[in-house]
Symmetry: C2
Subunit: 437 residues, 2 copies
């Protein structure tokens, strides 16, 4: 590293922020009965006073481990030249992900990989603010060559290499300007999970389903997997509530083994499901494929716990998933998600992001909007997940109207939390936590 002449990255601000969501059973599912939605939150700063925010999303316990991992990544960034870094964000990604010592702690998975994602996303936030553009537009206006330079093709080339990625992006660029305008006019389709948490009683589900339909949603998702009888009862109830024309998907949050998944989905199939999400372990590529083959035409969806682009590569190329659920905060940030969008395009699988939690809607919408404008060119069979909580804590909250995400127009990548929320929910000393003790 040469001594930088211009502005450099200065020490990070890293905060342990937790929202006490378990008090109301928001977000309860078969695998996660009592989450406290949390963020290991990082602010990357430069010596000229610019800043960008990113975070690791967790569900409570262990958020401090993610904080520690962000601190471990910090030393690879602080002191680096800002201009050089922003001019080669593919290089930044490689330097962080392939740091030989940190790599041992994954490799490319778990807390360290998620921490790199938070830092990479924060640098993108800073870059988008400097350019005065929302992230989706910043990405959409890059050339195919610039986009390909963001991606590390290591371990992908048996399915997707740089030449094929360039072809896809050149094809995807045709009609880009019209799609930008269409997106600004019409937004992007959403589906909602707000009605279907396992911990909610029937009357609450009923009320929330009615609200979702009134709000313009045409695709709802329910949590299943705790009890097979009760799953059938609840899916039947919701199908009757919504009628035949609204799409219904279910989410088992990994609780089934492969044979159980196939049996359980067989019982739910009469209620006309669009997809079954996380039927089994997110690491089980061959298991997902076996489920996918058994349950056609119901699609298998997964991704929110898929560790990296190499696992996505296999799920997509093997026909193990019919829906690719990227997550803004599981893999190593924007660059890796661009790789995954390209893998999905190369294999013809639609991308329907995982969102919810805290801030996931705010961040991941940019990636789907970029996908529409510059990669897939389509919103057909594609929806961004929407869950209606905690948006009020963001500087640029996600906005969904008439069942569609409105395209963000303000600069940045969406991760910035309001200062008062950071102060209130700081763990363990913020007033939200001090009051609960």
């Amino acid at each position: 590293m040469t001594t930088p002449a211009g502005p450099v990255f200065t020490p990070f601000e890293v905060l342990d922020v937790r929202f006490p969501t378990s008090r109301d059973l928001d977000g309860s599912d078969a695998m996660n009965p009592d989450p406290d939605y949390s963020a290991a939150y990082v602010v990357v700063r430069t010596s000229e006073g610019e800043s960008g925010a990113g975070f690791v999303f967790t569900i409570g316990r262990g958020n401090e481990v993610a904080v520690s991992a962000i601190r471990a990544v910090e030393e690879l960034v602080v002191g680096r030249d800002v201009e050089e870094t922003l001019a080669d964000l593919g290089g930044l990604w490689r330097r962080l992900v392939h740091d030989s010592q940190l790599r041992w702690l994954g490799p490319e998975k778990g807390v360290v990989h998620m921490a790199i994602g938070a830092v990479v996303n924060a640098v993108w936030d800073l870059y988008a603010k400097r350019e005065g553009k929302p992230l989706w537009l910043l990405l959409a206006e890059m050339t195919p060559e610039q986009l390909v330079a963001l991606v590390d093709f290591r371990h992908l080339t048996d399915v997707l290499d740089e030449a094929r990625a360039l072809e896809l992006l050149r094809a995807g660029a045709v009609g880009k300007q019209q799609r930008i305008e269409r997106l600004l006019d019409e937004g992007y389709p959403a589906y909602t999970t707000s009605a279907g948490w396992l911990g909610y009683p029937d009357d609450k589900v009923e009320r929330l389903v009615a609200e979702a339909l009134a709000g313009g949603f045409t695709h709802l998702k329910l949590k299943v997997g705790a009890d097979p009888e009760d799953d059938v009862r609840r899916v039947k109830m919701v199908r009757e509530l919504v009628g035949p024309d609204v799409r219904l998907s279910v989410d088992a949050n990994q609780v089934w083994d492969v044979p159980d998944a196939i049996a359980a989905i067989e019982r739910l199939a009469p209620f006309d499901l669009t997809w079954v999400e996380e039927p089994t372990s997110p690491d089980d590529i061959l298991g997902h494929r076996a489920v996918a083959e058994a349950i056609r035409p119901v699609l298998v969806a997964t991704g929110e716990h898929v560790a990296n682009r190499v696992v996505f590569k296999q799920l997509l190329a093997a026909g193990a998933v019919g829906v690719c659920q990227i997550d803004a905060c599981r893999v190593a940030g924007v660059n890796e998600n661009v790789a995954i969008l390209l893998l999905a395009a190369a294999t013809g699988v639609p991308v329907c992001p995982h969102a919810g939690g805290v801030g996931l809607c705010e961040v991941v919408q940019h990636l789907s909007m970029f996908d529409f404008v510059a990669v897939s060119g389509s919103t057909e069979g594609r929806w961004i997940e929407y869950v209606d909580h905690l948006h009020e804590h963001f500087v640029v909250p996600a906005r969904v109207e008439g069942g569609r995400y409105l395209a963000p127009r303000r600069p940045g990548a969406g991760a910035e939390i309001l200062p008062e929320a950071l102060a209130t929910y700081l763990y363990p000393d913020g007033p939200a936590w001090a009051a609960g003790r």
Copy 2:
């Protein structure tokens, strides 16, 4: 949790211990040029003064993240009843691995999973010391029913369920006593990696190969993957040095993409290789299978970076590996390795553990010895890796004579480091580090 009547677990001691191995390029390979072998070391204690040791092995930077993860696991153990815990170690494993909040940080992979492994191994060390037996013998003397109770079959049952595991263990128990005696007499075959690090000059490799042969080793492994021409030159040189009757394997430490791996191994195959280790990403099950099919009869080996039993399940069942390389400190400890040994037995793949680093030989030897005595019943086509450094820091150092590991006879699971080594290599304040600054 009811209030315990008897002894309970008390707060852990957790230490960041690092050995400055990068100063001599010990352990250098194509992916890891400058490791400082390190341990996030945990001592689990009871209110009656018993203790057990375990660790996460890392290669330097980020060891403090593993320390933080062990601290996150600690609150799930401290205060628990010791007798109840030791009577249901399968229950302990499930409680730690399936903790819904910590699980989000993997799931079942990366730093948190490795930290759970350290804690689980430490509890086993305590248990073995209390029983006055080395871990391999403690496990070998358990009944098939007791062993099956250690294993979590979730997400495995499409390949291995409890009934099939019981069958395997009942078959494996036949002749157990004779094998215990044979193991105590003859030890277990080893292979050595000490001669083949990438950073070593030719004359050092030559000297170390001669020493290995003089020491009775009949199987050597070389690091490859940095430069194809140089790989051919070095493998040819070593094949000529050892003659046709000594086995030679190579290790690429994940640097190749699938097509590159196949091409590179084709060039090395004339030198009669036993296996090629880590030809590509450890997450790439389908990639490993493609390599395995292309390079027969050379075997594909992997495992030291395989995150968990679900990934091993697929590698084994899909014919993607011909050698199963368990690691003592990557997965969640003894219980998960018992599951992997059973998966290997069910699919007929020999187990040849990864070792080296710091303490990996000391711990993993117990698992292969248990496998020989009570599961596979064979040492045919099986060797435990041996690397000759840092053993002097252990209370019960691994002992290899005549190319064979001698079976440990002292109680425990092998992870305990001498107090003077802990003090010297404590990071960053121990004298070994303070002196280098």
